[in-house]
Symmetry: C2
């Protein structure tokens, strides 16, 4: 165990789920933005709270552990932790300070960063007794609280880093996929797209011929990443099922995508359920040119927005003591 | 150009399309069975036939080039070849002898072997002026004749060897996927499943949640092949969309699959549209044990059958002068 009553610092990266054609299965972590957290453990007296959450940002997120995504993840963590402990062991509690730098609702895994950061931090404090797969399982309880669905496509890359494949949810199976250097440009138009709305507009049935196109692209994308074949990655970043439906929720989507590709982006699309849009590029120069196109388009229609020029993060949640 | 009036010998391997979860996109070539062919070119007089087909097996397949899959592929080949030639160049004709060792209708790419063998042979005779992608395009005309659909999931591995991904048909894009050593057991129960029937019973709509499972498995299979991760390959060999529908056409399918996996097979399923069933194994010993299970099951229900124990062929169609 790490020393009692000693704070650790945690960096929890933003993540991009779906990666265009890989709805519900693919995702990757980015180097910015990221949440900052601090955590410590102390011995807990009988009847004392097991989790204390302190927000040091201005988002006014709930601090009741059962209503906070980091709290929900830590509850799942502590349940299994306490089962593993001898009955004679001292009970512990966690204090968590959260400084959210990833704007909630932006579509780049803000809730996943809190959930994943909390359980990676907790695991570090108790001596890393759980596997990364276990941590994903705990953190998914945060996603369940945030969106109603226990999905792992943000949690997995947040914890593993890099590009991850969630091959199966039950049983949970996560596969780290190697990838070449990829620069990422993200634009967050300041509109609200609720994950539950973005999910409810999807058709529950898809045409077999579209599904075949989609799995051709997914296979192409995985092969492209593993072969470091940028052109193949670019050609495979096509979604014939989800994007045509969801993109209507995002103003200027089609024009923006076209302009970014003209500027040299390999491809991209909606980040998670939106409203953020991401683009992948081979060089930082192209990623900056892509940012310029994004700004120009949203300035042109007077829509406030934030942009990030970053790259794929290969480490996932990091502990800085 | 290769010498006029000199026969070359061609080996065209059998192929397994779909590879369980990769309907219409994945396929691989095997070392046995294979078709044997011979081909030569000669100068053609005006009004003389451009293609002569001679069957030296007992299947009585059509010898009219327009009704023979190798003929249909060669017609497409010659059209582009003649376009490329100067008008002053001598016109050529091909003679093709086909010894079919891959039983037509067995579901292991018998028509693809004839089409692919013919165009690879023709390309060799004219000095290899066409790319493999071009050859796939020509050979797909044979598939169109055989099944009504220009599919490439047998043609591509037959020409490229190994495991191939058809990421897209229009425009055609084939990606060779590296794979570890894999032993293949095939059983061909002597029943007739027509490709057109096997296609017509498929539902044109699939549930989104099934499609998501399927593309998780496809991504897992591609990653498993490229990482040489046998367990991941095994877990990913699952088809929740096509197999549940098509397997009802094949007697004993579920029991056979279960018995083969118990004997140590990584997994497997219907080869193409059936009726053959294939299983992948890590070692030759397991592949032989799997064959024993197959024989036992079909002997038990009195269904005549053929089995093959082979491995993935990495070269595709071969020319033996």
């Amino acid at each position: 165990m790490f020393s009692e009553n000693q704070w650790i610092k945690i960096k929890a990266p933003a993540t991009v789920a779906n990666m265009v054609c890989g709805f519900d299965i693919l995702g990757f972590a980015v180097n910015s933005p990221y949440d900052e957290m601090e955590m410590k453990w102390t011995t807990r007296a009988e009847n004392e709270a097991r989790i204390t959450i302190i927000n040091i940002d201005n988002y006014n997120l709930p601090t009741d552990p059962e209503k906070n995504v980091a709290g929900a993840a830590l509850i799942a963590f502590l349940e299994e932790y306490e089962e593993k402990q001898k009955s004679s062991s001292p009970k512990i509690k966690f204090e968590v300070k959260i400084n959210k730098l990833i704007k909630p609702g932006s579509g780049v895994g803000s809730s996943a960063a809190s959930s994943a950061g909390a359980v990676v931090g907790a695991n570090y404090l108790v001596g890393n007794i759980f596997s990364k797969d276990d941590l994903v399982r705990f953190a998914m309880n945060g996603e369940k609280l945030a969106s109603g669905v226990k999905h792992a496509d943000n949690i997995a890359p947040c914890i593993f880093g890099g590009v991850t494949l969630v091959r199966s949810i039950f049983p949970l199976e996560i596969i780290a996929l190697p990838s070449p250097t990829l620069h990422v440009t993200i634009v967050h138009p300041q509109i609200e797209v609720r994950t539950s709305d973005a999910r409810s507009i999807l058709r529950q049935q898809v045409l077999l011929k579209d599904a075949i196109k989609q799995w051709g692209n997914i296979a192409g994308l995985v092969a492209g990443l593993m072969k470091s074949d940028y052109d193949l990655i670019g050609r495979s970043l096509e979604d014939v099922i989800i994007e045509p439906v969801r993109s209507i929720l995002i103003p200027g989507f089609d024009d923006l995508k076209l302009a970014c590709k003209k500027a040299g982006a390999l491809g991209g699309g909606i980040s998670g359920s939106g409203p953020s849009i991401f683009m992948l590029s081979k060089t930082k120069e192209i990623a900056i040119a892509v940012e310029k196109e994004m700004k120009q388009l949203y300035d042109g229609i007077g829509l406030p927005h934030h942009t990030y020029v970053t790259s794929i993060n290969q480490t996932g949640v990091e502990i800085i003591e």
